[in-house]
Symmetry: C2
Subunit: 409 residues, 2 copies
């Protein structure tokens, strides 16, 4: 008799964004005449940059001719793209990443979920709270977390992020092996300074731990002093892996391309305490379970790493950052407390009137038809908070802010 | 101290196709003037069908306009594509699959590798030998196989496929929980009749086992009596999951789209022996670890399920099948024994002169610069066999056959 992986039963509720989509759909079905504005799931609304569209179309055309057709190639991604990433994302920040340390994939969600496979099942995992649910759920499914009791998994170490520590996690008091960090943070929008990040790198080196660093929102950093990559920190290449994505950098939420940096110096240890390079393990994982990203998608993505394409993308990012300012100004005007919205597309607000996150969600959709993300969905420390995103269309953002100002709170 | 997943150390050698690519590259580097013909990795060479190229280009264009831009949508795939698959692939064969039983993904390799995650770690897995290495390696990495001893993993049940049983696996003598089947078979090219397949379905129902049925090559079946889907067999929906791919159906090896059918009736069991629907579990897995296939790829894929697009694809399949005939005729003319090549793009030949598979590989590349796949790379029963694919360009296939005829054997 075949048995299921019973770790799935430990998952607490639906995947957060699936749950929001479900509730929104139900509301809309009951109220078909109401216009719902979605500032929830963090999906972008602006079209792809013209250079990217041209790249995709050129790729499609190449696939139609025998001379330029592309079949299986490198599971790790085309060199033209990896070289462009190296030159545009890292070298200008003083970080020298080799091409074979860059793995092209279908997205940071997939990679942050899959990377835990390389580690032993008794790995002690630390996650921030609030946290992007994928880091947690992937470890639950693998069996590393134990049971869900009182809103937390018994086997995880939670790094509380609250007003007390300015939503910046502190080093854990107990030893941990694997540390998930995300900056600019999803969901809080908080960023990290070089000094703060160095403390994490030093901790990982001292404790022979690994940091999984999610930098999916680095393109939103405007302050030149804020690190865009963990590899700007000395010694990070020995202990960190970095996840990046074009989803928010270039509107690829529906086009799907991410890239993961696995330095050759980064290691975990075998049972004889001998170091094993993560680059080699990840390569083996990808070669076995993945077959690369579509050629034409990589061809389109390449344009993001040209001067022209990047300028087009930055214009779109500025548009979203202006949205963030409009939301922030609106919240300020009615006295709602928040962080984020600068160096980040996310705004993390304290729910007014002491409402729970989900009560505020229900209030917003029912009273003013605005959808956001309940902070409690990101963890215990998220209770009483709410995430808004700046990825809407300008007119929707303006309407949403006008509606929020009418809230009786 | 962070520990690696030591199951990776149990993996026997490189991923097969990575090893072939490596050896081929090394040969070519040493012999830059020689023209190597690749009939090895099973990659297609003909361009995408014109309708598909148009679909991709139209999708790219839509992504460039705010009105038609597509961001995150369904992790499971767009309904327009799933409905088209339902209508073209299944209904005409008398199989009624619901849209929410179809999951669009980036390929059958990924899905056959990932699906094992839904099952408990003590699942007893049966695989054919020879076998597509992904089924085995994914289970090795998860820790279900034990050690590799004398060419086999101690914890797997191998279903020997040899000349004795006409390369068709027989029911296992010991009870198993999970059965990997692939028809038309990779690597042997063998197909299965409805009666033979029914025996597997009956076995799975009786033993509460699950069949993972890889139908990636079903488009090559020309005999109307041969089942294209396991769901043509009564009762299969309770015990089977089917993997399909456009890689060989429509030349998507470098464009990446597969689809997996998980019927709502298919179940595994929890520790109280209560049935748990696999459809629900897979949905949760995909929602957490995957973010869907690029919209424009789905838009291009849709064309494969229109009358016009399918006719174009079938023309390409006929071209490859003619290649298979040319290879088969060539082998016959020099007395080399083989199966496959009808209802399948693969030709599985007995190495002449009793050579080992890898010796024959070396002989072929060194003497006549033809690359194929050593049968031993697919398992113990593959030793002394060799796989050729029909996916080459016609002129290369003709040259390869001429060269093979000159072999001193």
């Amino acid at each position: 008799m075949i048995k299921v992986n019973e770790n799935y039963e430990k998952l607490a509720g639906n995947y957060l964004f699936a749950e929001i989509a479900k509730r929104t759909k139900e509301y809309q079905a009951k109220n078909p005449d109401k216009k719902v504005i979605r500032l929830g799931i963090g999906d972008v609304t602006q079209p792809l940059a013209p250079s990217v569209v041209d790249g995709l179309a050129a790729g499609a055309k190449e696939m139609g001719s025998a001379d330029t057709f592309m079949g299986y190639r490198s599971d790790e991604g085309y060199e033209f793209l990896r070289e462009a990433i190296r030159k545009m994302d890292f070298l200008p920040r003083g970080v020298d990443i080799a091409i074979d340390e860059i793995f092209i994939t279908t997205g940071a969600k997939e990679d942050t979920a899959n990377f835990q496979e390389l580690f032993s099942l008794d790995t002690k995992v630390a996650v921030p709270d609030p946290v992007y649910p994928v880091y947690v759920d992937a470890n639950v499914m693998a069996g590393r977390t134990g049971k869900f009791v009182d809103g937390r998994y018994e086997g995880l170490v939670y790094l509380d992020c609250s007003k007390v520590n300015d939503f910046t996690p502190e080093l854990p008091k107990e030893p941990v092996d694997l540390i998930c960090l995300c900056f600019p943070n999803n969901p809080t929008g908080q960023v990290i300074t070089k000094d703060q990040l160095k403390r994490w790198v030093d901790y990982a080196r001292k404790n022979k731990a690994v940091i999984l660093y999610d930098a999916a929102y680095e393109a939103y950093i405007r302050d030149p002093e804020i690190p865009r990559s963990i590899f700007e920190i000395d010694g990070a290449k020995e202990v960190a892996v970095e996840f990046r994505s074009l989803s928010k950098t270039a509107g690829f939420t529906g086009t799907r391309l991410g890239y993961t940096i696995v330095p050759k110096d980064a290691v975990a240890y075998d049972s004889d305490n001998k170091p094993v390079p993560l680059n080699k393990l990840w390569n083996r994982r990808q070669a076995t379970k993945f077959n690369g990203v579509a050629y034409l998608i990589q061809k389109g993505a390449y344009e993001v790493f040209t001067e022209k394409g990047r300028a087009e993308c930055n214009k779109i990012i500025s548009y979203y950052m202006e949205n963030a300012k409009i939301i922030g100004d609106g919240l300020k005007s009615i006295g709602i407390d928040f962080i984020g919205g600068t160096n980040s597309p996310y705004i993390w607000l304290k729910t007014p009137g002491g409402l729970s996150s989900w009560d505020f969600f229900d209030k917003l959709i029912n009273e003013i038809q605005v959808v956001g993300t309940p902070g409690a969905g990101f963890g215990k420390c998220g209770e009483g908070y709410f995430r808004l995103t700046s990825f809407g269309k300008r007119e929707d953002v303006i309407s949403a802010v006008e509606r929020i100002k009418t809230l009786k709170i």
